[in-house]
Amino acid sequence: MAVSDREAEFRDFVTAQMEPLRGLAYLTCGDWQAAEDAVLTVLAKLYVKWRRVDNHASYARTAVVRAAIDETRRPWWRRERSQSHAMPDHPYPDDSTHAVDERLRVREALLQLPPRLRAVLTLRYLEGLSVHDTAEALRCPEGTVKSYTSRGLDALRQILGVEVFVNKELRREVRAV
């Protein structure tokens, strides 16, 4: 494959995937700037190994989640956060409609979960990965994924004070894409 062909393919891929990857990273680390840095880093790596990766989307997705988790572990992040107990930034628009309130409430609830736990929920229920694939992506045992899923759902129920359910049909549809 000529360099120009590779670059054209890469450009097409980035055009289609950059925004979803940005959202995935944000849901994992809770900070848009850190999320974008994580995505750019992963895309740069993917560019280098483009011809050696079979499934570019899968590679990018799992690498972005890992990188986003890593962003939350940087020494400066840890030092600053440890002094304030703060969670990642989540700027709110100046809008008081009910729908916006609900969305912000949901986002607030998600951001209260630890990054790895959030990553498990995101990979499973937004990206539609199986327990096995999620475990592989996060390099952890399948039991951990199951446990994190259960803990995450319980935590969201407690934080929001409402029932949180999983649409399994939707999840299968997402996986099929």
Partner: protein, 356 residues
Amino acid sequence: MKYELSDMLEAGKENAPPPRYSVDDAVAAGRKRQRRRTVLTGAGSAAVVVAVATAIAVPQIVTDKGPATQGNAAPAAASKAAAPAPFAYPADNFTGNITGFKSGDLTVTDTVHVTPGYQVAVVVYRKGVYDPKKIKTAEQVTVDGHAGYFQKSLPGKAPEGLKGKIPASAFDTPASLAWQYDDNAWAVVSVAARVKATQQEVAAIAAKVTAGAAKPVTVDFKLSYVPKGYELAAAGPSSVLNSPLEGESYVRLLKGDFPYRGLTAPAQDPFVVNDKQLPVVQLTLYPKWNGKYRSATTPSCPEPGLCYRTTDNGKYELELSGGGFLSDPEMIKMLNSVTFADPSDPGTWFKATDAV
């Protein structure tokens, strides 16, 4: 009301700000990386811990024990203030005696961090260490008959130079309740701003602060080599007010005396005395999955001032931060002198006072 999880996740990423990077930026970053691929380093991060769901900054209790008398100070005058049982500060250095408890849906851990001036779980200061001047502008309250102050949480603002790099919420003021449990002896309970704890909830935590049996703080590694002049300054499962990960341990070494007096919060890097920064070295052991860099049992320094070494089984990583005061070869020498306990078995851990 019911929420469907995938809908929640979709909602969670709505209203994204305009992207900072374009497709061209991604291509440029890729090309750049290609050019320097022989010096690849990981893209992730170093150690650690993000705040806990119920993150509570713990209270501290202080007795009047200055650094010069740290070794054999008498037990602190008990805090008979808010605690149902009197709180007596441990007599020995680097021992902790805060007993964890639950208050509503908030959890206070056992002691997770000890310095010569205070222990953290709830933060309990030794007598004479805490200066209430900052919180005295807050609302006056009474805690079990003792004078105190309640400061509600306030939104933070990132200082110039850090704007855009660190979220403003990192500078939120936590809800805090300080009370004078004895003459010139203060205890402080702080609850993270995002928890949105009420004054009543914070007071309920304060009322439950109790002292258990004093136990030496232990860590799961020790060093046979420490550069001249550096001495143990803090130790425990947590570096500050985080809930520790499994197997996590923290040790801080300082070169020079730091006066544990007049504090308005737990001491943090930089440790400045008479306008001069004391050299500081920090070591943290944590599960390897929480690490950023490629590391091995042989020490290496992927960034200036940051060196790493893993346990023999590769499951845990020790981070040594030199703070700009030590050369990398000096830090490698320190890491080569490390002996690990079994991080998964606290029974094998070393007393912090024996670790350096």
